[in-house]
Amino acid sequence: MNTLLRAENITKQYANHKALDKVSLQVPAQSIFGLLGPNGAGKTTLIRIINQIIGPDEGRIFFGNEELSPKHVHQIGYLPEERGLYKKMKVGEQALYLARLKGLNAYDAKKMLKAWFEKFDLMPWWNKKVEELSKGMQQKVQFIITVLHKPNLLIFDEPFSGFDPINVNLLKEEILKLRRDGATIIFSTHNMSSVEELCDHIALINKSEKILEGTVHQIRKDHASQVYEVELQGAARPLRNILDDNYLIINEGTEQGHLKARIKIQNNAGPNELLRLLLPESELISFKELTPGMNDIFIKQVTGKFPLENGSINGHEGLRT
């Protein structure tokens, strides 16, 4: 696996608190890397360090095979969470200005900008002031500015906030396309469904420390809940009497005459064992393992509680089957 960005033991101390404590992570090349964590965990600080906006107190960052230095600024595109534009400046002029600050020359920047503006239907707005644009259009302009100089590494902090669903899809397609074209993407968000949809790797930061890192697939596998949902025609005797101590009934209920229950398998028992116990009792309608979504993993890692293991059947929007 080729690593594009490697952080080693990054520590950052602010006046009143420690924002990052020995955080290390590896972002594989051409991956979409989810940087997750609750508010105030230190994500923005880490992103700013990668962007060289601030420096770490300790630790090093490698970009490719080299230690990160100011010359890499041109290879990184950053869309901050808190973002804006000069309201009184004209859209095209402003995009051109920001592109030139990224090291593009005026001629190339203008040519590329025009292509992107055409693509996003922004061309009629080229000579308008930014304050005349809707928020969604401003976001599109910011997205263009971020990707225009064809950076190897793109960092999106909550990129979808403020977009309507149509533009969210447009953006997702563009992000996937950028990845296909060779870019590596760091993606910081609270929106777990987009993490599952887009990311192949994630790192979870909580209270200044990295607490989890790996591929989405592996992490979900590691967090396999051993919780199964069964649907039966209806049992002659209560489930509690059918199952022994190896099985914990999280909840059960009747739905359209069917018995539905969530059962967690404990100790060394397995799903086959469970089925063997259930089959003689009733007609089986369905049987499936409930794998945890990223949302559940996130909550479990941050709060220590697994939402799958408590609450009612209806209370788990994030459950995936």
């Binding site: 950053y78 973002r83 000069y86 009184k88 920001l98 600050l101």
Partner: protein, 445 residues
Amino acid sequence: MSKTAIIIRREFLSRVRKKSFLVMTILGPVLMAAIIIVPVFIAQLSDSDYNVAVVDDSTLFYESFSDTDNIRFTPLVLNVDEALTLMHEGRFDAVLHIPETAFQAPSSLRLFSAKSINFNAKLLIENILKHDYESIKLGLAGIDPEVLAAIETPVRIQAFRIQNDGELTTDFPEISMGLGFIGGFLIYIFIFLFGSQVLRGVLEEKTNRIVEIIVSSVKPFQLMMGKVIGVGLVGLAQFLIWIILTFSIVGIVQVSFPGMFQFTPDDQVHITSSQLLNAEEIAKQHELIQQHNTVGGQLMEGLAAINFPVMILSFIFYFLGGYLLYAAFFAAIGSAVDNESDTQQFMLPVTVPLLLSIIMIQMIINNPSGPVAFWMSIIPLTSPVIMMVRIPFGVPYAEIALSAGLLIMGFIFTIWFSAKIYRTGILMYGKKSSYRELWKWIRHS
């Protein structure tokens, strides 16, 4: 083009293209030219002659009245009533009646006017008559008219300054005072005007949240310096345009209305053909002309003694130096707050030295070489304004060099200091910053 240059370019162009810049650029010189032209013009307007008919029943004073710039005297050999009729017909603005017994009873003198009396005319007449009364009385007392003429002694002290090299230069404190005041005040205005533009610019970038996009491409220091320099160039450009336009407008007016600015002594002591002058009178006129020439000459000499290249160069230097020193503070303040109303608590300590400078101008002008003037023109926080006040009076080059050197060190320090606050401040949101907080930023960066 370096990134700082790209930023400077944007900061400069975005301001220069604004309508307000255009308005200021045009209005500024118009106002300044107006300040120069309007008083002269008004003086010309009141030049519309004030005609005074002189009816001298005593016949002692017919020859005393000579016309001035805007007051004309016409001796009439008519009685008062006829003269008053002429006045009502509009031939004259006023009638001066000197009764037969005037010499014995000066209080019987009368000045009649259809409209309100011209105060200057009244004063002039009083002066002339007082002078003539004295001459006649001295003559009666047996004093020779030649002696009388010799008694008239115009006194005017010419001030000289002995320079370091022993050379004598004419000193004209009035001109130095005027120039010093204007120079100091302009520096003050410019620092405030453009310093607060830096503050607003930084604050705009912070509240717009564009700052994080920019600092991912350039260093915060580059952004700060780009803004400070860009705005400073706007100030410099505006100043130069003002100077050029002001002189052009004044020049055009001068060419269009020649004579408006020419102070020909002959105008002042005009001799009308209606007057018959004796030799003594002519001698007096000549003396007046001579005296006038000397005043005018001295004025020209005084202006010539002012070293204008030094004035303009030091203005540009102290404007830029003072601006850089204060603009750095203004940038730091803009970065430390979230909105304009929070700037107040940090503005006060920055504006106090500037305000102090303005308050002290009067005192400095009165004693431009005193210890207060010296120290205030050395300390970088006050030197831009105070040194500009002192320079027209002549300041030893060593002092200017010391002051300039300290000012350069001063702004290097404030820029370094402010950059530390700036680079933390621009990324801090929603946190009310205090002096304690700022101190932590400085220590931790």
